[in-house]
Amino acid sequence: MNALQFTLGIPLLASMLLGLFGQRTWAKTFNVWTAAAGFAASLWLAWGILQNGVLGGEATQFYVDSFNVYLITLTAFVGATSALFSRPYMARERASGRLSDGRMRLYHSSYQGFLFTLQLALSTNNLGVLWVAMEGATLATVLLVSLYRTPGAIEAAWKYFIICGVGIALALFGTVLLYFAAARVIVDPDQALLWSVLARHSSEFDPVVMAIAFVFLLVGYGTKVGLVPMHTWLPDAHSEGPTPMSAVLSGLLLNVALYAVVRVKIITDGALAMHPVAHNPHLPGYLMMGFGLLSFTVAGLFLHRQQDIKRLYSYSSIEHMGLITFAFGLGGPLATFAALLHMTVHSLTKSAIFITVGHASHIAGTQLMANIRGLIRTQPAVGWGLLIGTTAIAGFPPFGVFVSEFLLLIATMKAQPWLTLPLLMGLAVAFAGLFRHLHPIVYGDAPEGQNPVQANMWPVAVQLMLVLWLGLAIPAFLARWFDQATLLISGEGLL
C-alpha cells in the first residue's frame, strides 16, 4: 500500500460506509476523522514527492508531480476543515428538523464521495479518467444542492445538473478529439490518453485538431470553473446547498476544473508551437485571457447587486477564478507563479469565509444580508472572522491574495501594459462591492434577541493564518513546487 492508495481509498471507503450508516449520531464525527485521515495520507504522499520527486512513471495510470501534489494536499486539508465545520452545522440542521435521517446519510456519503472524485481527478494520469472523475464530482454534489428540497434548491440543482452536464459533455468531445489527434502518433491506444505521454509527444500532434479540442475542453471544464458566460449555475448552487458544501465547491471544485484546463493547455501549447506561422501559437492563452478578464469584470459588477450573502461570495469566487484563468492565459513564469499561488490562497480564504458565513446565517436565521446585522456585537469571533476573511479576499496586504495579485499586476505590466487598467479597475470595483455589503453586517446594530451560536472557529483561524503566512513568506518546499510547476506550464522557471 502506498500513500496514494490511502489518499484515494479512505474517502471512497468512507463514502460507502456513510452511505449505510450516515444517519447515526457518530457519523458526523466519523466524517471528520476520515477526512482528517485523508489529509494525513495526502501529507504522507506530499512527503514522498518532496523526497523522490515525481510519483508514477511514463506510462502509469497515476501521476503526481509538483503541479498536482500541492492541490491534492490542499483538497484534503480544506476537505478536513470543512468536515470539522460541518459536524456542528449539520447537527443543528438535523435538530431543527430541516433534514431527515435519509438526507443526513445522503449528505455524508456524498461529501466523502465528492472528495474522492476530486482526488481521483487530480492524481490520475489518464485524461479520460479525469473526465469521468469531473462528471462524478457533479453527480456526487447535485443531490446535495437540492438537499433542502425547497423550490429554490430544486431549481438550483436542476440548473447545476443541466449546465454542468452539458459543459462536461463538451469537454468529453474535446477529449475524444484529443485522443483522435494522439492516436495517429502514439501507437499503443491505451497510452494515447496518458497525460505524461501526451506531453512528451505534444509537438507531433495535428495543430488544427488540437486547437478545436482545446476550445471544447476550455468551454467544457470552464463551465465548472465558473467562467462567464457559463457561470449561471454557480451562485445558485452555492447559495441553495448546505454551507459546508458551498465551502468545498468554491474552495476545491473550481480549482480542480481549472487544473484540468491547464493540463490540456500545456499539450495544446506544445502542438501549436511547432507551427507558429500557420497557426497562432498563443491561441489557448488568448482564449483564457479573454474568458478570464470577462469573468473577472462581470462578476465584480454583479457583487454590487447581491442580496444573499452566499451569492455574494460565490460571485467573488467567479471573480477570482477569472483572475487565475487570466493569469494562466497570460503565461510567462511570473504570471504562472502568481496563478498557482492564487489558487492556493483563494481556496484557503474562500472556504474559511464560507464557514464563517454559515455561522453568520445561523446567528441571524437568514441568508439575506439586509437582515444580518451587528455580528461583531453578537458574536465577536464570527464577526471578526468575516471581516478579516473579506479583507484578505479583497486583496489587502499582508495577506497572500495581495501577493499573488501584485505579482500578476507586475507580469501584466510587462507583457500587456494596457490590460493593467481593467485589472486595477476590476479590483477596485470588487473591493467596493464586497465592503458596501460587509460594513453594516459586521458593524451595524444587532437586532433584539440575536444570540450567539455554538461555533467552531478553529478551521477559520488556521486557514486565515496560513493565508497570512503565505503573504509574508512562502515556505521553501512550496516555493520549489510552485517553481517546478511554473517550469512545466510556462517553459521557464522563476526562481
Binding site: 479520460g128 453527480l139 429554490g152 430544486i154 445538473f161 443541466i162 452539458v166 478545436i212
Partner: protein
C-alpha cells in the same frame, strides 16, 4: 466516390446519416412517448454503427461497447423514462415546440457549420472520418439546440442523452472507441445520471406541480 469504398464503410456512412436524421426527428417530435422511442432508435443505430466499426477495424473491445450501448441507451434509459412518464401520468402530454420551422432551419444551418469546422482537418482527407466527425459534432450541437428550445424536463433529459449519443458516436467513428477504462467510466456516469434525472422528475413535480422547467426561474438575477 461512394462505390469505391468498402461495403462496411458505406454502411457506416449510411448509418451516420440515419443517426443525424434521428436527431432531426427528436427536434421536431412533440409527443413524449414518440420522443422516447426515437431516442431508443437512435441508440440502436449508434450500437449498430459500433458493431460495424468493430468488424471493419478488428477492434474487438468495441463489441463490448456496442453491447453496453444497447443495454443502457436502447433498453434501460428508455424503459426508465417510459416508467416515469407513465407513473406521472404525462404520457399523453404534448411538448409543444416553439417555432418548429425556425428550429429545423437553425438545425440545418448548424449541420453545415459542423462540416465547415471539420473541413480543415488534414489528417481526415483520405478517410470517411471527416463525414463521421462532422456528423457526430452535429448530433452534439443538435442535442444542445434541443436543450435550449424545450422547456419540459423530460424533453431536456432526452436532448441531453441524445447529445451523449453524439459523443459516443464521435469516439467510435473517429478513434475506434476510447480505452476500456474510460468507456466503462463514462457508461457508469451515464447510468448514475439517468437515475438522478429520474429522482429529479419527482422533486421538480413536488416543487412546482408540473415538469415545466421554465417555471424554475426564481433564482435569476432580478432587478432590485
Amino acid at each position: 466516390m461512394l462505390n469505391q469504398l468498402p461495403l462496411y464503410q458505406q454502411a457506416i456512412l449510411t448509418l451516420a446519416a440515419m443517426i443525424l436524421f434521428s436527431s432531426f426527428a427528436l427536434l421536431a417530435q412533440n409527443r413524449v412517448l414518440a420522443m422516447i422511442h426515437v431516442f431508443a432508435w437512435q441508440g440502436l443505430l449508434v450500437a449498430l454503427t459500433t458493431t460495424f466499426v468493430a468488424y471493419d477495424s478488428g477492434a474487438h473491445h468495441l463489441y463490448f461497447s456496442a453491447a453496453l450501448t444497447v443495454a443502457l441507451k436502447v433498453l434501460f434509459i428508455p424503459w426508465l423514462l417510459h416508467r416515469l412518464v407513465r407513473r406521472m401520468g404525462i404520457d399523453r402530454e404534448m411538448h409543444e415546440v416553439g417555432h418548429p420551422a425556425m428550429v429545423l432551419m437553425t438545425a440545418a444551418a448548424l449541420v453545415i457549420f459542423c462540416y465547415y469546422v471539420a473541413q480543415p482537418i488534414h489528417q481526415l482527407s483520405t478517410s470517411i472520418t471527416r463525414n463521421t466527425i462532422a456528423i457526430s459534432m452535429a448530433v452534439v450541437v443538435l442535442g444542445l439546440l434541443m436543450l435550449i428550445t424545450r422547456n419540459k424536463a423530460v424533453s431536456q433529459v432526452i436532448g441531453f442523452m441524445s447529445l451523449e449519443n453524439g459523443l459516443f458516436f464521435a469516439a467510435v467513428a473517429a478513434t475506434n472507441g476510447m480505452p476500456m477504462v474510460v468507456e466503462l467510466g463514462i457508461a457508469f456516469d451515464v447510468l448514475v445520471a439517468a437515475v438522478i434525472f429520474g429522482v429529479f422528475f419527482f422533486h421538480i413535480r413536488d416543487s412546482i406541480d408540473s415538469l415545466d422547467v421554465a417555471q424554475l426561474n426564481q433564482l435569476a438575477e432580478h432587478d432590485q
